[in-house]
């Protein structure tokens, strides 16, 4: 449930802009890394909060990555120096945000979810990433170390591609793109799981399959909640009303928008499939009950009349009292004839069920 509502009672009643960390409590030391580059130069180092201040006004592009948002003083110091609004700092520390994009003229603030599949809980987990795009710097705030940005770092280090030649907005785009690309990995995993479930469903629909379907449905509700608002975020960036985003970068953002739509489309497709699977499950349960009923009915309908016949000839009416009392019992062929009668009844019933296609 914690995945669905995170905004906790901790912040209730505090004035807006109050810095309170909302999320899993963490103890790890906050780690700040600076990457500063232009076409010729490249610096990468771990720094303290104060050490990253001078980069603000350097003409080269600076990416300051903060791993850990649970230490108020650090977030506050950085926020103050880079001129962030208190509400932005509050949002960075409160990890229950809905993805959104806010344009503060001097900088653009973007919050979104980095998703990963936790092997331990077999659940999709989300880590909140906050990005601040300034004139020539990008701040990124993550909940913990470890992210999907290594490819971007490699490209920066190697100086391959456009990335070292262009400005901070392209870096922001690259980071966002890395996060969205990563969604496809999650979708592939889900796709495989859906396929596997479908095969199982057709082979043998047991209650566990239903649990799995239900579980998958919840995962998709969660995924959808994390991804759906992205559409608006990216299209907000794409409209390009901010002068922080250059025209050349907008083409890339348009491409990223397509990817986002593709992610959303795929989630909806999975939802459609899952709801189809529920139908299949329900009707295969009905089918099974039908089969059980048929077996019961066949047995009952064949043997109940036979047992009745046997019961009749087990009655003790006294032949002595009257010749009308059960004369069959004394017939020469009484027993064989009754056996034949019984076999005929059974045979007729079998034929009847055969004609009804129950056998």
């Amino acid at each position: 449930m914690a995945r669905f509502i995170k905004r906790s009672s901790k912040t209730i009643g505090l004035p807006p802009g109050s810095l309170v960390h909302v999320g899993e409590s963490r103890t790890a030391q906050v780690k700040i890394t600076v990457i500063d580059y232009d076409e010729q130069n490249f610096i990468e180092k771990e720094v303290s909060a104060e050490e990253c201040f001078p980069f603000k006004d350097k003409p080269s592009v600076t990416w300051i990555n903060v791993d850990g948002v649970h230490q108020i003083d650090i977030i506050e110091k950085i926020g103050l120096h880079f001129g962030l609004h208190p509400l932005v700092l509050e949002d960075i520390m409160n990890t229950g945000q809905r993805p959104k994009m806010e344009d503060f003229e001097d900088y653009i603030f973007i919050v979104l979810k980095m998703l990963y599949h936790s092997e331990k809980d077999d659940e999709i987990k989300a880590e909140q990433i906050s990005l601040v795009l300034g004139k020539n710097f990008v701040l990124s705030f993550q909940e913990t170390e470890g992210d999907v940005f290594d490819f971007v770092r490699d490209r920066l280090r190697n100086g391959k591609g456009r990335i070292r030649k262009v400005s901070a907005d392209y870096l922001t785009y690259s980071l966002l793109d890395a996060i969205i690309d990563n969604y496809f990995i999650i979708l592939e995993k889900i796709g495989e799981a859906v396929e596997e479930m479908e095969d199982k469903l057709i082979a043998n629909p047991i209650p566990e399959t239903l649990q799995a379907i239900h579980y998958m449905k919840r995962e998709l509700i969660f995924l959808r909640k994390s991804v759906w608002p992205l559409r608006e975020v990216i299209s907000g960036l794409q409209r390009g009303e901010s002068k922080l985003i250059h025209k050349s970068t907008q083409l890339y953002i348009r491409d990223m928008y397509d990817h986002t739509i593709q992610v959303i489309d795929t989630i909806e497709t999975f939802r459609d499939m899952i709801s189809g699977m529920l139908d299949i499950y329900m009707s295969s349960v009905s089918n099974k009950m039908n089969e059980v009923m048929k077996v019961l009915t066949i047995f009952a309908a064949i043997f109940i009349p036979l047992t009745f016949v046997a019961g009749v000839y087990g009655m003790n009416f006294s032949p002595d009292a009257s010749p009308l009392n059960m004369p069959e019992l004394n017939f020469f062929l009484g027993y064989p004839l009754v056996l034949i009668l019984m076999a005929s009844i059974g045979g007729i019933m079998l034929l009847y069920f055969k004609r009804k296609k129950w056998l």
Copy 2:
């Protein structure tokens, strides 16, 4: 049901703007509290209706809070003095309003619902709050004493944060924010209940679970009805067409808008989950019936043929009449052989059911 339609026949036929209290009847004395402040000064006192008149034209910010809307004369006096339209007064007294925002140029009128969880009825209850934002005053009308504004009052008293330095629109924002923040507490409660229900559902789906699901569904219908129109209300404030709302406050309102969307999102997520739970319930009932049927069928299919065999050898065909009449009865091993036959029939049936995976 009273929660769903409150507008009663009392008001039918009256001219518009007629003041009639619609809602739970109350007898408590209406209580008026004034808080008047600027950066240096702070006054807080309980007053009569007339005593709050002079505050209207003071340059300092005044918050007049009225607990109780069931006394026509008081509402009327205040309304007249502060220049409120008769329709506004009617809406204040009629507690069945849909949340809405109306801009009357001189003042903005906002109606919304303060929610709380009534322990007594185990139900979410709503209290109507009407806010009037004027040039340098805020009027708030509540149905009863007791609210979620204590945090705001404390901040005003302590003079902490921005609140004492800025104008009446920020106070209005703070009050709205306090109400919306409170929704998260309700959502957390529901979230816990949903989780608990889900665990129960998987462990043992009894009709009571269904009742609980149904009940929760109704609570969500109610919640949705109270919160959904808020989206429009807040976005109306955010568009900032009124000169009563300063630009600096709009950032805060935008933040509050995000919270509103989050509340709505979470309600929709809960609805999705609940509807998934209904599916689970229905199919687990089917599964249980299937199991019952299997037990019945297994018993019937094993014992009905055996009983038939026993019936056959209980027939009274006279061996005296013919050697063909039940000679088995006089065989040396007749009885043991029949017992073996019966055991074989039972065994075959068991194997058959095992192969069908019914056992």
Copy 3:
């Protein structure tokens, strides 16, 4: 069904603007009442069609109410004199209109439904009301005598409130408001019925409950069809593009718009509830079947094995033929032991069902 499609074959093929009465056939004499007023004067009288002509050009506000739209000549005469377009007259006489508002510059034409609950058929019935708002007159056309306007008439007679001081648009608003206010009475009735049904449903879900749910669903479909288009009608008036509607009246129309939204909201809420009740019904039927099955299974599973045992010892194998043939029959404790055996089988079955929670 007549409530759902009224436009009958009578009008097919006629040129547009042809006057044909479509609706329940009526024989009552058409009754025309004129109320003419300004702040000082007030006239109220029953008139003939021709007698109401002079009121058209009087500066005072005139309300001409026509009870009965089945007499072509009267409608035609009035229409001609007041300059109504033939299509308007056609719409007035055809009582199967969808609520709509049409602005003809010189006058505004509004059609809507006045709802009432018919005790006789236990059904919601609709009567079509057509309103024509001209410069200083209002025409209203009703299907029969008897309406919800008595409160408005009283206010006009008493001269209380704003109504006598302001122009024809306010009178139109008052009439519309009276009709919409009346919807709340219908909604209250439905609300009570829904609540009652819900209680019954939980106590004892019988097929009659289902019929009632279905019936209520149809009533809501009908209600929705009558009310939904009102939203557009009122918001059309509210946009205030016509110079016939004064600015001061627009505030009142905005208020009325809120009421309309509230009506629609409540209808949707009822629909949600009803569909939830269907789910409850279906699953409680399943539950009941489950219970029936359990009783059957318990009886069968306990007594079928016992009957089999009794059957075995009812076989007639001859002990004379061999000592292996049913020696139990001659055991000293044979009978008591068999009884004990039977009791044990029964007891074990009961324990088994207890452990399965079927008892």
Copy 4:
């Protein structure tokens, strides 16, 4: 199925504007009728393709009606003379069009469906009507002879109403109006069928009822597909951006638009009702099964224990071997007491079922 996709492989691969007849193959001779009129004059005659050419430039209004669109040369000749775009001609001949309106400045092209109920197949059938409104001519193309325009022809002949006094746009309106009016007849038929089905459903829900519901559902899908796009078509005409449509005619088109909305509304209402009927059907099937189960359970639960008792006293334990062996058999009142025991068991069971409300 042919009703749902008509666009056949015949046209695949042909250049756009290729004239190929798509639809039911027909052999009847194409029949062309010209009606030419102004306020004084009226000509009506059957002509060849060439004979209708001179009417193009006459100042009087000309209506050329073509019955049959399967002869390429005729359509081509007319199209060429009246300056129709090749794509228009292609659309006229391909009877699988979706209703649409296209404005070619010089003329407006409208395609829609004329519906009729085929008694033979008990199915709603659609015939495609293409209308071309030029400066002072109207071309209409139908698949076969026989249409709903007879009322319009009569009015033209008689010179009654506005129709002879006004221009070609009013004629177009009249034709469209005749088609839409005709939809109400179809709706009335469906309405009756729905009502009848509902009565049957409540009286005795048999599988045939389900078939009927399903069938009706398909008819509504078809109807909806034919009518829904009309909304856009008519609202396109109503926006009045073409100078071919006069202002006075627009009032009439607005009226027609209302009728279209009414048709669509009614279709949606029927869909709602039908889906409600499916629910009723499903749950009445459940109810019936429940009842069957109850009968079975009551019989089984009463007689199985009784049969067991009878079985016990049918055992052959030898009273000679021990006085404990079935001494009841030799009791003086053994038999009557057992009968009483059996009656009691039966009675208790009956009471139990009565208390459970199964009887």
Copy 5:
């Protein structure tokens, strides 16, 4: 599943614009064909990547078709020469694109899906087609050889129709039109399958039918995903904001837009039908179970009481002990009377079931 998400992990982490082939791996040599034409001249030949460069600046219209997008160097060479953006090249090679249209001022880039029915897998398959419309050239990229463009090629060769007389935008339209026309063939196939399924469903609803319904549903989900975005693509072209598309071509694009809507409409209709079929299936399964239950109940209810009667007269109460012990056994007509009793019970039961309409 591969049909639903194709974007693979291969591209994750690469800088945007990186050329990686995503899709089924292929080994066939990439084949480039050039068709260059104006009204008089026509050239068609197979070329290497370099050989098609000179055509870029020729005034005649050039269509360069590339079969195979798995060879990076070729795509890159062409892209560079024709001035395509790296992102466009990336999209061309990544065959998991969502249909889209992008306007790069100098050229328009269109991606869409060519569908065909694979007989081998009995599945609808999609091949991605990328089109680039430049000033006087059209580039088309396909995954493999073999396409639906042969009709277009024939028309170009023969010089029939408009195609040779007009510019590159008309060629693009012709190619798109060929693809969309082809969708109708797929729809026809599905239509036939749906019809066949429906017939089977009514004749005998077996689990295999359900599988088929489910399978068809998945095909439609896939189809919908491929076709739905086309609406936006074509309407983007139709808006005609690019100067690359001439006014005369826009009429054709509008026509194509209608076809697209028709395709989407038909898909939705099929979805509606399929969901109706699921309902039919579910309720026919219920009906069948009902019938099975009835058979069981009839047999049980008739024979269980009879067996009980037989059981009673099989009891061994000793007539010697008392004259009250089973005196019937010694009655003169005991046996015949019991037989008559049994026949009566059976008859009454049959009558009862007949009246309940179970027989």
